[in-house]
């Protein structure tokens, strides 16, 4: 038996959530500093996360709202490098599958094959590139496939049906549904058309559907799961906690645990 690939580990994480949605908190690597971000990642695992999305800070993050943007700027100012973020991923990988979130230029800078090999060497399971749409992805997908790394594509509420089907068919690991038309960040309410969009997205793919952007409370997480998501990604809420709390690890552990509880609870009680 060969070791499980990154794709296998992600599939296993979704399967072992056993009927509830998998919880995937987002971690800004190197924010507020490398040591604290490792502690935050550990706290995610302690709090009941099923996977972790590990963000590589980037100078020009076009898909991110103010909270994650500012955290990335701060991480870079504190000296975070791509090599250090990969090490952070390797340190967290024994606890839970790590899906790296990196903007396209970070991947291009090392080259597709080299980057995919680095991910595997650091036991990282998947890769999300928020500014690499379908048309630009084939070479990187091939490089990731060769290393067993899941290149996770994104779909948005604006994605037309025919395009949704093409993206869904090429998804590896899971399909990342952007819950709203906008950048990352907390919102007061989920998009009214979310259930409809998630149903369309789920029908377009064979891999699990995870939803992210704009999910900041346990109730919103549970509602997103109710609306049809097999996975829920929480970002800005946790990054904000890391920025504001005196003890970031303890704070985010509590938030993640509350989210995990909400996802485990029977939906009718949690949401309605």
């Amino acid at each position: 038996m060969s070791a499980p690939t990154g794709i296998d580990r992600i599939a296993e994480a979704f399967a072992s959530a056993q009927g509830r949605a998998a919880l995937m908190p987002y971690l800004m690597g190197g924010f507020p500093d490398m040591a604290t971000s490792l502690a935050i990642g550990e706290a995610y695992a302690d709090g009941g996360a099923d996977l972790v999305e590990l963000g590589v800070p980037f100078s020009d993050p076009l898909a991110d709202g103010p909270v994650i943007h500012a955290a990335g700027v701060e991480a870079l100012r504190a000296g975070a490098s791509v090599a250090q973020i990969l090490e952070l991923g390797a340190a967290l990988a024994p606890r839970l599958p790590v899906v790296l979130m990196a903007y396209a230029n970070i991947v291009y800078a090392r080259g597709f094959e080299a980057f995919a090999q680095l991910l595997r060497a650091h036991a990282i399971s998947g890769l999300i590139v928020p500014d690499l749409p379908l048309e630009e992805a084939p070479e990187l997908r091939a490089a990731c496939d060769a290393e067993g790394i899941a290149l996770v594509p994104l779909v948005a509420p604006t994605t037309p049906p025919e395009r949704l089907a093409r993206i869904g068919a090429l998804a590896r690991g899971f399909l990342y549904a952007v819950s709203l038309v906008g950048t990352t960040g907390e919102r007061g309410a989920l998009d009214a058309g979310l259930a409809d969009f998630l149903a369309r997205a789920a029908a377009a793919t064979d891999v699990p559907l995870a939803v992210g952007f704009g999910i900041g409370t346990p109730a919103q997480a549970a509602a997103a799961a109710d609306a049809g998501a097999a996975g829920v990604i929480v970002g800005s809420r946790l990054v904000r906690a890391a920025a504001e709390a005196d003890d970031p690890a303890a704070e985010v552990r509590g938030i993640v645990a509350a989210m995990a509880d909400a996802l485990a609870a029977p939906s009718a009680e949690t949401v309605r």
Binding site: L62, H69, N105, P133, L134
Partner: protein, 409 residues
């Protein structure tokens, strides 16, 4: 693809944007392909360019500049356009297109403020809501343009991120577009960004080169030996280059060397020629570190203060069809003063880079230089720099630094 616009120039270009925007880029491309073949649209655009913008702009034989340079130099007077720069050619075209697409809200980024003013102007004319993103450092450097945009009814959104200049303004505009794409058209100001923008902006700016080529043939009965334009994102350059692409004419793009290429404080990704990368949706020449983090550019001129460049320029460089060199802040500033004294024309600091290059480089009998904009917006910054340069001397001092200039051809 044959019916569409180019997405790639050699390896450069592409569409590196969040998925949310992909349908909007497809919609924009389809709308432009349809509009540019629709006589009602092209006639309306032509009328506005003629009656409102003031096209064709003059081609001016700069006799005293020619004498100083030791060759015949013609200036394509884009500074005489309404709003004072070539930016209006693109802004009017895209605003008309937005109207046609039924998008009531316009956003744009601006560095020097010229594109912001042009966009605010087009939006006032066509009754469109207008939001302009501008770095706060540029708002300081280009105050008159901020005030102009306000008078024209646009809202200027200050951008505090990073070095608070053009790169961050562009990122902020793209984020706004991601959030408001259903109602909003993004009027990108230069021939960069994701496809179809590089082709769309080039199509709208090529009028510069088409006019200049015809005007010069009429005046001189021959083509220029060299066509020279400044390059930030590269829209005035691609506009004047394009009609000369198949001619035996040297094409020279002049980037910002800032405080000097070797200081790292510049805006010259084409001249430096390191590993390409992705910025603002396109793969092209870019200033970046080994990890792929985009570096901050530096230029005295806000319009050239940008670490990336349009993808077609990267390809023109690689194929050898165009040549790219860089001019320092100091030489651009001296060229601005020189043109003011020689010709009574105060050029924009951006355009001053092209003037400086021409003054400093022989090897031609007939140069065509794109004078892409006028320098009124730069007065405060120019005076501040000149005062600093001579320890706070007043106007008398301005004269002293002029005669040498960068002009030893």
């Amino acid at each position: 693809m044959s019916a569409g616009l180019e997405h790639r120039y050699g390896p450069y270009g592409g569409q590196y944007v969040p998925e949310t925007l992909m349908p909007a880029l497809a919609e924009l491309e389809a709308a432009w392909l349809e509009a540019k073949r629709d006589p009602a649209f092209t006639t309306r655009l032509h009328e506005l360019l003629r009656d409102y913008v003031g096209r064709p702009t003059p081609l001016y034989l700069a006799e005293r500049l020619s004498e100083a340079a030791g060759r015949t130099v013609y200036l394509k007077r884009e500074d005489l356009n309404h709003t004072g720069a070539h930016k209006i050619n693109n802004a009017i075209g895209q605003a008309l297109l937005a109207k046609r697409m039924g998008k009531p809200r316009i956003i744009a980024e601006t560095g020097a403020g010229q594109h912001g003013v042009a966009t605010a102007t087009a939006c006032a004319l066509l009754d469109l809501e207008c939001v302009i993103y501008m770095g706060t450092e540029d708002m300081r450097r280009q105050k008159p343009n901020v005030e102009r945009m306000g008078l024209l009814g646009a809202r200027v959104e200050p951008v505090e991120a990073g070095t608070r200049t053009l790169k961050e303004a562009c990122s902020a505009a793209i984020r706004d577009w991601v959030a408001n794409v259903a109602t909003t058209h993004y009027i990108l100001g230069t021939a960069a960004g994701p496809a179809p923008y590089p082709a769309l902006v080039r199509d709208l700016q090529r009028v510069i080169g088409e006019e200049a080529r015809a005007q010069l043939l009429e005046r001189e009965g021959r083509l220029p030996q060299r066509v020279i334009a400044c390059v930030g994102g590269g829209s005035n350059a691609i506009g004047i280059f394009t009609p000369f692409i198949d001619d035996p004419v040297e094409l020279i793009g002049v980037e910002a060397a800032g405080e000097g290429i070797d200081t790292g404080r510049h805006g010259a990704p084409l001249t430096v020629g390191e590993r390409p990368g992705i910025l603002h949706g396109a793969y092209s020449a870019v200033m970046q570190d080994a990890d792929g983090q985009i570096l901050e550019a530096h230029s005295i001129s806000a319009g050239l203060d940008y670490p990336g460049v349009g993808p077609e320029h990267a390809w023109l460089r690689d194929t050898g069809r165009a040549r790219y060199e860089a001019i320092t802040d100091a030489d651009a500033l001296a060229a601005l003063q020189r043109l003011a004294r020689l010709e009574g024309i105060i050029p924009a600091l951006e355009s001053s880079h092209a003037i400086a290059w021409t003054l400093a480089h022989g090897g031609s009998e007939l140069d065509l230089v794109c004078l892409s904009g006028r320098g009124d917006k730069d007065l405060a910054e120019v005076i501040r720099r000149l005062d600093l340069g001579r320890g706070g001397a007043g106007e008398q001092g301005v004269d002293a630094s002029v005669p040498g200039g960068p002009a030893q051809a």
